[in-house]
Amino acid sequence: MTALPDLAPLWLTLRLAALVTALLLLLGTPLAWWLARSRARLVPLIEALTALPLVLPPTVLGFYLLLAFNPQAPLGAAWASLTGQTLTFSFAGLVIASLLYSLPFTVQPLQAAFSALGPGPLETAASLGARPLDAFLTVALPLSLRGYLTAAVLTFAHTLGEFGVVLMVGGNIPGETRLISIAIYEQVERADYRAAHVLSALLVALSFAVLLALYAVNRHTGRKA
């Protein structure tokens, strides 16, 4: 019996996925709200931009991010002067890259939930004296819980499995940017199939459990309503 392979890439991946999910739910809410309710002519343009990561090869996204993260580029330079660190090959860089990469998986379910809400509940809340933010938090948010659940699970699961973008901007630094998919890739390159099997099976089991939980909860709340 040999010891289990190093599980650090798994923990790092979970940390990244959790952080990105939390941030995206926060940042994606106003964007999805605006997309669902605005009548501005700009809406289709922003919708297309938001959906872009769905169709782009991850390496393309990663390539442009790599350019933007370069300490000579405006974004990379600003980050470097603020934190003293570079965005390339860092955990912070991975977070920013993942935010863009997983954005559609948060925004699209939320936008669908907000659209399905219709204007009725918010108008009613306003007529009962609720200010717009109050009405959003006490009416729109609880009525969109299923949309939030879907968005959270899809974002989390999608971030778990990312590879191309990570490889381009993060590289393979243990404890910093060495995510589970990178670790598996490297193990296969070294022909260490046993280690690759363990991590791969873990990732399959984890992804399956997350999706199973989503569908089970969705079915349950669907029956109740």
């Binding site: 009725g120 306003a126 009962l128 004296g129 609720a130 717009p132 009405a135 009525l143 309503a225």
Partner: protein, 355 residues
């Protein structure tokens, strides 16, 4: 308190909506018209859900003019729709508390729930309520928000007859006791005749007539507002007392009507609202003899409205009230009816304005 001033246009259908109205700050004013007339859009503009670019003033507050727009949550306008629009994620108590908390009147919650018969329903979810129950919760919730103006958009039209009969007295009590001006949108002649102090007749986005309900319903210009409703007129009568053979007498300003006895019997002198459908009124040029009808009133022709090639509505002044009779053009010509003609109105059937 000078009431509600409306002067605006809204895009709607082929010709848009164009209103220029001053409505009283008390009582129940009906906006009466067929579906598609623009009634709901006017309510939405008053609530602040649509910008009109025109003028909306309530009392001495300006809610909308060219420069200023008061958002809906600052207008304190209560709304009751055809669908109850309860919050599905809250139980009945939660729905009521949502309004009461924001109006700082949580202590009123239980007494109000009790007044509307909601105490046994407080822990129920909206999805489990009947249509009538949900509408009672919606009305109680709206009142707990302490509105200064109540807008009701066909609140009864999705309900069965029993639920309607249970809600109508609640609305009447609000009208009579709450010192709350009510704007009530409806396409139903029965509801308007029973509830409305004043009526605005609306068709194709334009106001056709407005004023006291009986006058508006009798006004030939209001005819398009009836839409698919069978036209009729509203008569305000007082209960005079029982008559032999299971009948009773109602007094009109100049004359009286005989009806089958009413159950429960009204108090002497009690005001009653009656609807007489235009098809239930016949006209005779001489006092009719040997006729089974109980009610024959001397009448004078006030106006004639052409409906189509075959039929004409005749507007009559009879016994101090106004009546509408639907006749064939041939009958009108045979009888030689013209404005000012004297005749006799035979009223075949009278209904209490219920619904």
């Amino acid at each position: 308190m000078t009431g509600l001033r409306l002067a605006f246009r809204l895009p709607h259908g082929a010709r848009g909506i164009e209103v220029d109205l001053t409505l009283p700050g008390t009582g129940l004013t009906a906006i009466f018209g067929p579906s598609g007339a623009g009634k709901s859009s006017i309510l939405r503009a008053i609530a602040g859900f649509e910008r009109t670019g025109g003028l909306i003033r309530f009392g001495d507050e300006t809610w909308e003019d060219g420069r200023h727009f008061t958002p809906p949550h600052r207008r304190r306008v209560g709304l009751v729709f055809q669908a109850s629009r309860l919050f599905d994620h809250l139980d009945v108590a939660g729905n009521l508390a949502y309004a009461a908390r924001r109006a700082a009147c949580l202590p009123d919650l239980l007494p109000t729930a009790d007044r509307f018969g909601l105490t046994p329903l407080l822990s129920r979810r909206p999805a489990t309520l009947s249509g009538g129950e949900a509408q009672r919760v919606a009305l109680a919730r709206t009142l707990l928000a302490r509105p200064r103006l109540l807008l009701m958009d066909e609140p009864l039209s999705a309900l069965d007859a029993a639920s309607r009969a249970a809600l109508l007295p609640l609305i009447e009590r609000l009208r009579d006791e709450a010192h709350l001006p009510i704007l009530y949108v409806s396409h139903s002649l029965g509801e308007v005749a029973r509830l409305a102090t004043r009526t605005v007749a609306l068709a194709q986005g334009r106001v056709r007539a407005q004023g006291p309900t009986a006058e508006v319903l009798a006004d030939p210009r209001a005819a398009p507002a009836f839409g698919a409703e069978e036209p009729g007129s509203l008569i305000e009568a007082r209960y005079a007392g029982p008559e032999p053979q299971g009948l009773c007498r109602l007094s009109l300003p100049e004359g009286s009507l005989i009806l089958p006895a009413l159950h429960p019997e009204p108090a002497p002198g009690e005001a009653l609202r009656l609807v007489v459908r235009a098809r239930d009124v016949m006209i005779a040029s001489t006092p009719p003899q040997g006729l089974s009808a109980l009610n024959v009133l001397p009448a004078r022709v006030r106006g004639l409205t052409d409906l189509d090639a075959a039929s004409v509505d005749v507007h009559l002044a009879a016994a101090g009230a106004t009546l509408r009779a639907r006749l064939t053009r041939r009958s009108v010509e045979t009888l030689g009816l013209a404005v000012g003609s004297h005749c006799h109105a035979i009223v075949k059937s009278v209904a209490l304005a219920r619904d």
